[in-house]
Amino acid sequence: MKARHKRLAFIAVGLIALGVATALVLDAFRSNLVFFYTPTQVANGEAPQGGRFRIGGLVEPGSLKRAANSLEVRFVVTDTAKRVEVVYSGVLPDLFKEGGGTVVQGRLAADGSFHADQVLAKHDENYMPPEAAEALKQARRVQTTVEVE
């Protein structure tokens, strides 16, 4: 009898601990743990002003400019709502292209541009042959035009 009560008490303590831990973890997921921001958040001033952080988004088509006699490149990262200008000097990854996904890491400069020390290409989780991608794009275009109409 007594031993059973003790065991129940231990189980109760374990469950309570699990509950509290879960609550804390859930609470944690509501905040930004990995310093990853979208251009909108950056524009709203939510991103850290002093620290190093990451911005993820698409490279705006037509925004990529290379400096004449150095490795410096400038481009704009956008989440279609807001844009952030990025300055980077270094080699860009092979899969980096206008319209493609990217993750840049660095700090905000005083003029509001983002000085990246690392630029990475990020792609989505879709794998398909080029023809399929083309077909899909076609289908989407049709869909949007239909929607516009």
Partner: protein
Amino acid sequence: MNTLAILRWLLWRELMLTLRRRSDLVAVLFFFVISVSLFPLGVGAEPSLLRVMGPGVLWVAALLSVMLSLGRLFAADFADGTLEQLLLMPVPLALAVSVKIMAHWLVFGLPLVLLAPLLGLQFGLSWQEAGVLTFSLLLGTPSLSLIGAIGAALTLGVRGAGVLVALLVLPLYVPVLIFGAGAAAASAADISPQGALSLLGALLVLGTAFGPYATAAALRIALD
């Protein structure tokens, strides 16, 4: 005598023993201070750099100091035969283990926490940043003791235990380190550190609830 009274005596014993062997305590604290102060010396004291590195360096140093002190947690008791007597105490072993871990934290963890604001200010952290750093250490160092105890118990009596402990325990320390240093970095970047602190809290709760059981099991195995 009831369980609580026995556990109180155990705590008394543990504190007494470390007070008698103050050199261990001093060595660990000294190591913490040295490895933290080395950076301004070795890296060159450029203030902006120091401010960025500060929290991370303090956290890594705290983690390594706690790890250095883990050797003493059970090994001495094991060698002189008193661990057998602890296993035969008329209280649940997991409770006794909790008390030992608490004593370990009081002696080796708490002083680090108390020293942290001073060292933090040395790195040019603001009061607020130093505060968050200290709080993250306060939440995190008990987890380090709790996790470390499992490793220490698993490697009891094994040759090369000191290094093996590091091997077992460091991977489990990584999350504590990431969230601990992350909290401080967040506050340095003017973001709320609450997310990281919540995770540290979650780790602490889980560690307190389940760590002593794993440690107790490991001790029984070690003495088998």
